[in-house]
Amino acid sequence: MSALYFTKDHEWISVEGDVGTIGITDYAQVHLGDLVFVELPEVGRKIASGKEAAVVESVKAASDVFVPVSGEVIEVNKAVVDKPALVNENPEGAAWLFKLRLADPSELKGLMDRKAYQAYCNTLE
């Protein structure tokens, strides 16, 4: 059973054991618009919590994707690099961006669950 967490920067992380799968939320893709370019981190890169790990770009603008928790990149989703529009179609499913081996699972405590994230998004409208 995996646990799902969200950030104020509109990333999600689904955690199973010590592996977290990270993507951007539906709210994020709606606000970014049609994505045309995705840049993912190299496998093996160690990234500290809150640092930029990936970039998603729409026709108009580039946005950083931050890692919600520290860890080492163990896998990236090449499908979204080949077809960035997948992120618009299924941002919280098939269009995950990368997987991290978590350095410190206790960092997850600072994140929101879906209900809290939903309430947070409502305050932004």
């Binding site: 049609d34 045309v36 370019f37 970039v55 026709v59």
Partner: protein
Amino acid sequence: MDSTELAGLARTPLFDLHVELGAKMVAFAGYAMAVQYRAGVLAEHLHTRAAAGLFDVSHMGQAELRGLDPAAALEALVPGDVQSLGAGRMRYTLLTDERGGILDDLMVTRDADRLFLVVNASRKAEDFAHLRAGLRGNVELVELPDRALLALQGPRAAAVLSRLAPGIDGLAFLSGTRAMVAGISCFVTRSGYTGEDGFEISCPADRAETLARRLLAEPEVAPIGLGARDSLRLEAGLCLYGADIDTTTTPIEAALAWTISKRRREGGSYPGDSVIRRQLAEGPPRLRVGLRPRDRAPARAHTQIAGIDGTALGEVTSGGFGPSLDAPIAMGYVPAGHARPGTELRLIVRGTPRPGDVAPLPFVPHRYRKP
């Protein structure tokens, strides 16, 4: 954008219609403008190239020059040839400063004894003050704040507008005429900012919504926001004031020498004429060029441009993604010696030098109506 952010912004006569159409509103040049509708930037861009797009450009500044020989008076402020404009003809030109920098770009149309001007929204207050201060003789600048401006652009634009204004297809590219469009008195020019055939329609502000709804009722027409307007003009290699041209760029550096006729090169007297004449004779130190990244990473405005040896060359001034090309495109300035199409260079995107090439402009061929 929430209601408090919108509150301080000016609105065009089509504001309510944009909201009704599901537009995402953003601040642009002090106006609340539609950046995209529900279809999104990609679909709106491609629709304009395939059929017809309707743009609200009512934020732009419209004015008339009236009086005795307004063309001669305007030529004291622009390097373009205004006096040779025939009746109903239209031309792109530039307001320049004493150093040859560009204060704004504008469209000028001769409408009988008047000149009709369209200037950038972000510059209109400065432009109008500059014109009032600089127009000599018995010439008056009359602002037209009670007029809206709609652009209908795309390969089906002429067919659509002909239904509402029979005979309008006879209007030549870069010409203007007074015309009744759907029973509304308009000034229509065959022009635009997309590289496609199309029209810009100046109409009374209080009739703009009626006209826009009438155009949107045609099956080929979709509303298009500023997002697609920007990607369309970039593919067409057209300058955006404040990005590609400003007071630090001359018309020659901006590759806009074509806007200066032989007569005005030889005898023109206008702000910055000595700088511009010298650059015409000796060549400019740098030039605006098209840029094509070799991979798929967009090189946005202010991306540094370097040579293959790492030497700093210049900066991207407009950059993003070209939906019709399905590839990133950009424009920027490089030293004249690096401006030849095919010159390989590096675009420093997020710290990483990525290969790219100088490319001919426009990226997408213009499809203006042939005479």
